[in-house]
């Protein structure tokens, strides 16, 4: 597969340039070139990334291939954002980036330089649940709860976008979030209630 070859040649290039790198950085680790080839290559593959997650500023160093979803889950340990497919087909990974809902599995972390990310962990105001979270509990908009963070993040934007004017419209604009437990009618009820409540979200 061509992409893999490309990837490999980049890695090989990095390894071949070890000696040069050692001179440039003058790190004692790098002088033991042979067995450390991989570690050095790995070091070069990190990129700096600054972003804000739930109001907290992060200065990170990440591989360019890391998705925003995996950054959140595996590196920042924010497990509230779920992985259901890793292919942009289920919506379980929905987060807000600068206030817009996106599938975080389809966004490389490094594409989010300087952006503000909100995940399910950042939605409530301390102990006070967000109205959408309240409504999901009240209308039992879930069973297993696995799709729920994605549904709620999506639902908040669905209302904000002005796509929650009636049940039919909500169904359409919430169809990017699969719920295998089939809580759909309850999810629609929850969103209708929040929309009617008219709170600012």
């Amino acid at each position: 597969m061509p992409t893999q070859n490309k990837n490999e040649s980049r890695r090989d290039f990095l390894k071949k340039s070890t000696a040069l790198a050692a001179l440039t950085i003058a790190s004692p680790v790098l002088t033991k070139a042979g067995e450390n080839d991989e570690k050095i290559a790995a070091l070069f593959e990190q990129m700096p990334l600054r972003l804000e997650v739930n109001g907290v500023a992060h200065a990170l160093s990440v591989e360019p291939r890391v998705t925003l979803l995996d950054l959140l889950r595996e590196q920042l340990h924010l497990m509230g954002t779920k992985k259901g497919c890793d292919h942009g087909q289920c919506g379980a990974c929905t987060v807000h980036v600068d206030g817009k809902r996106i599938n975080s599995c389809l966004s490389l972390a490094v594409m989010n330089e300087g952006k503000k990310i909100t995940t399910i962990e950042g939605l409530a105001n301390g102990d006070k649940l967000h109205p959408m979270q309240e409504a999901f509990i009240k209308h039992d908009g879930f069973q297993c709860g696995y799709c729920t963070p994605g549904q709620i993040m999506s639902a908040v934007c669905c209302v904000k976008e002005g796509h929650a004017n009636n049940a039919e419209e909500i169904r359409e604009f919430m169809s990017g979030n699969i719920c295998r437990c089939g809580a759909y009618p309850n999810i629609v009820d929850a969103i209708m209630e929040v929309k009617k409540g008219g709170q600012s979200l």
Partner: protein
């Protein structure tokens, strides 16, 4: 006072774990943080049958962060893979199912053949993509239609007969039709995942997506030759399963093997694509029904044959034809069931296993018969209502099926149903109404529960079950509140850990009755203990007998003189005990099953529109009526019914695993191509419960909901499609191309 009023209304119906689930705090299998943890990723076969000649690992080995690559040639010995090797006479436990990395054989496309372990997820995924295999390929067979025709290829698990064979052939009004369903996958939203961590050589902790922590514990103890008590399985939250978590699939031992080899905790997540080829599915099935009735509608004969697929390495069968044996009264019934092994992975129980498939055929055939007889389909079912179980001749513990017809019929507006198919339109769309019944076994299984009553006034209940979504914790808290006559906010339920008392595997709609009964027995024992403690420690009760005392709403009093009373918290204080605890069993309903037949029943009603030109189906309303015994938690029970109906929509209209028989490979193993229902596919839904307790099965009164929520939905939709269009679709899913 009505005891149920004790539960604060604000609390009564909300899920006890609701806040965890809406805030992202609920922790699922892959989300546990362990120090020093590394990642394992499967490499899967790209042929359906043959053997591995050579694994090409060089590129993967030199990829960054790779700790190990495990495959058949270097996999550490797993005792349960070959239990008879050391001593052929000694009885060992053999791992059932695919013995992953045991040898170089390939039994199906997408079978795990190697596993890369690396220090980050990205590195493991990348390195896994560099592993290649060279195969000795053999001719594979995954073509159901073709293989089924060859009698020699079929295994024969069962026959049944009462009265005359094939009596339908001589019936006054009769039909004979064939029905097929494709393989359907569970695909819960949470990916199957296992985290395994060894502590020394003989202690293992596993975080797993399992419907039965105790079952997983047992399987792993046997597989790795460990003491059960040295295997701890933790299942805090389960993100759906629908049957896929009823047993351990290859990734579970694989994670344990990996952790052993690299001596670090290992996390193995099954990808969505691998979920299609490694964790089971509802098997592709063909059925033939012959059915007849007199002009009065009385059934005179049913013949039901079925063939469903299984793998080459394991037989999986389910009760597909059983529904025809007992759902309706009919003197002459014969059934047969065959298994067809193909080069595929093993199927398994999926929501409503057996009846979900069987009822599609039987309930479709009854609908067809109703048109031939010119009798309303509901009426036809009422005419053939079985008062006694047709096989055992026993009465049912409870059976409120007729009530379901009445409740559902009214709610859907059955009187608006066109009697002539394809004769009514609304807004240019053809209108159809359909109904069909569902059934599943009920009972009371074995479960233990512990109750810890504390001096601070709280009651903690525990059982090693897991909750894949139906609301088990909520139901247990509700029942604990009722049985102990305490406010629900004083009660908590702890689950999902094998260190807790023996819980059942969550499956077959049996959790509530099994653990609920154990909790009932626990509460009775706690009350008795409190009485004895009052007598021993509180002077006012000295010398009295426990029988002279009564327990009401947390207060022990003298029955003849209620002015002598004391709260349970004060009894504990007087006895100087911070808490008391008891562990009790549910006890199986074995004796009851000798005297009664036990089932839950449902009837589903559908109204839909079909576009006359494009064949696009738009569901307008679904009403599900259920006789599920007493409803413990109206809120979660309703959600289960709705969820089951949504599953039924998928089964009826969209879900179908496609296989390219040239390669034996699935062509739609992802959510973009395998279509599960989305929000826009779900119409407004109503649920009506008969809500009558079945106290023969258990003191909880509950019969079970999970399966009957889905069983019968697909035929109800198919029957409505016929009513709208006059087209009878007997092979699921009913996609528009089949209607134009």
């Amino acid at each position: 006072m009505d005891k149920e009023l004790l539960i604060p209304t604000s609390f009564a119906d909300d899920r006890v774990d609701g806040v965890d689930k809406v805030t992202g705090k609920a922790t699922y299998a892959a989300e546990h943080q362990l120090a020093n943890m590394v990642y394992a990723v499967f490499v899967c076969s790209t042929i359906a049958k043959g053997s591995i000649k050579n694994m090409i690992l060089a590129d993967a080995k030199r990829a960054a962060g790779v700790l190990d690559i495990i495959y058949y040639a270097n996999c550490p010995a797993v005792p349960g893979y070959n239990p008879y090797a050391k001593d052929p006479n000694k009885k060992g436990y053999e791992w059932r199912g695919l013995k992953v990395f045991n040898d170089n054989k390939v039994y199906s496309n997408g079978q795990p053949i190697a596993m890369v372990i690396a220090d980050t997820m990205e590195r493991a995924v990348h390195a896994a993509s560099l592993v290649k295999a060279e195969y000795v390929k053999e001719e594979s067979d995954t073509d159901f239609e073709n293989a089924k025709a060859d009698e020699k290829k079929l295994k024969k698990p069962g026959e049944y007969k009462r009265g005359d064979t094939d009596a339908y052939k001589k019936g006054e009004v009769s039909l004979e039709e064939e029905y097929t369903i494709p393989s359907e996958t569970h695909n819960p939203m949470e990916l199957h995942a296992t985290i395994a961590a060894w502590d020394g050589d003989d202690k293992l902790t596993v975080y797993d997506k399992s419907q039965g922590p105790k079952g997983t514990q047992r399987e792993l103890a046997q597989c790795f030759g460990l003491d059960e008590k040295n295997v701890r399985v933790v299942v805090e939250y389960v993100g759906g399963a629908f049957g896929s978590g009823l047993r351990s699939w290859p990734h579970v031992p694989a994670a344990v093997i990996a952790a052993k080899k690299v001596k670090r905790p290992v996390k193995l997540i099954v990808t969505r694509e691998q979920m299609f080829t490694t964790v089971g599915y509802r098997p592709h099935a063909w059925q033939k029904i012959g059915i007849s009735a007199g002009k009065d509608g009385k059934l005179t004969g049913i013949t039901h044959h079925a063939v469903s697929i299984t793998s080459r390495y394991e037989d999986f069968g389910e009760g597909i034809v059983n529904v025809s044996q007992f759902l309706y009264d009919c003197p002459n019934v014969n059934t047969s069931y065959r298994l067809l092994p193909l080069d595929v992975n093993t199927p398994t129980w999926m929501r409503g296993p057996g009846p979900a498939t069987g009822c599609f055929a039987l309930e479709s055939a009854l609908d067809e018969l109703s048109y031939k007889l010119n009798i309303d389909p509901i009426e036809l079912r009422v005419i053939n209502h079985a008062v006694l179980h047709p096989i055992s001749k026993l009465p049912w513990s409870t059976k409120f099926l007729k009530e379901c017809y009445v409740l559902g019929k009214e709610k859907i507006g059955w009187q608006n149903r066109p009697t002539v198919p394809g004769s009514v339109t609304e807004d240019g769309m053809l209108v159809g109404y359909g109904m069909a019944g569902g059934v599943f076994g009920a009972g009371r299984g074995q479960a233990s529960a512990k109750g810890i009553l504390k001096a601070d006034g709280t009651l903690t209940l525990q059982s090693a079950v897991s909750d894949m979504g139906p609301g088990t914790s909520t139901a247990m808290v509700t029942m604990g509140a009722q049985f102990m006559e305490l406010p629900a906010n004083k009660i908590s339920f702890e689950l999902g850990d094998t260190d807790l008392p023996n819980g059942p595997t969550q499956g077959g709609s049996g959790t509530t009755s099994a653990i609920g009964t154990a909790i009932n027995v626990v509460c009775t024992a706690l009350k008795q203990t409190l009485k004895e403690m009052a007598i021993a420690n509180v002077p006012a009760f000295a010398n009295l007998k426990p029988e002279a005392l009564k327990y009401e709403q947390g207060i022990i009093s003298v029955t003849d003189n209620v002015s002598i009373n004391i709260s349970y918290t004060d009894i504990l204080k007087a006895a100087n005990k911070p808490e008391i605890e008891v562990v009790k069993d549910s006890g199986r309903a074995t004796a009851e099953a000798q005297k009664y037949a036990m089932n839950s029943f449902s009837v589903h009603f559908v109204k839909l529109h079909v576009h006359p030109v494009t064949g696009v189906i738009k569901l307008k309303q679904i009403v599900s009526a259920a006789d599920a015994g007493k409803i413990i938690s109206e809120n979660t029970a309703r959600s289960q019914m709705v969820g089951g109906a949504v599953g039924g929509i998928g089964m009826a209209l969209t879900e179908e695993v496609n296989i390219d028989n040239r390669y034996g490979r699935y062509t739609n193993a992802n959510f973009g191509d395998y279509h599960v229902p989305v929000n826009a596919d779900a119409p407004p839904m109503d649920v009506v419960f008969v809500n009558k307790a079945d106290i023969i099965i258990s003191p909880t009164g509950a019969k079970g909901i999970g399966e009957i929520a889905l069983v019968g939905v697909a035929p109800a939709i198919a029957n409505a499609v016929y009513n709208a269009t006059g087209k009878r679709i007997r092979n699921l899913p009913i996609t528009p191309d089949k209607l134009i």
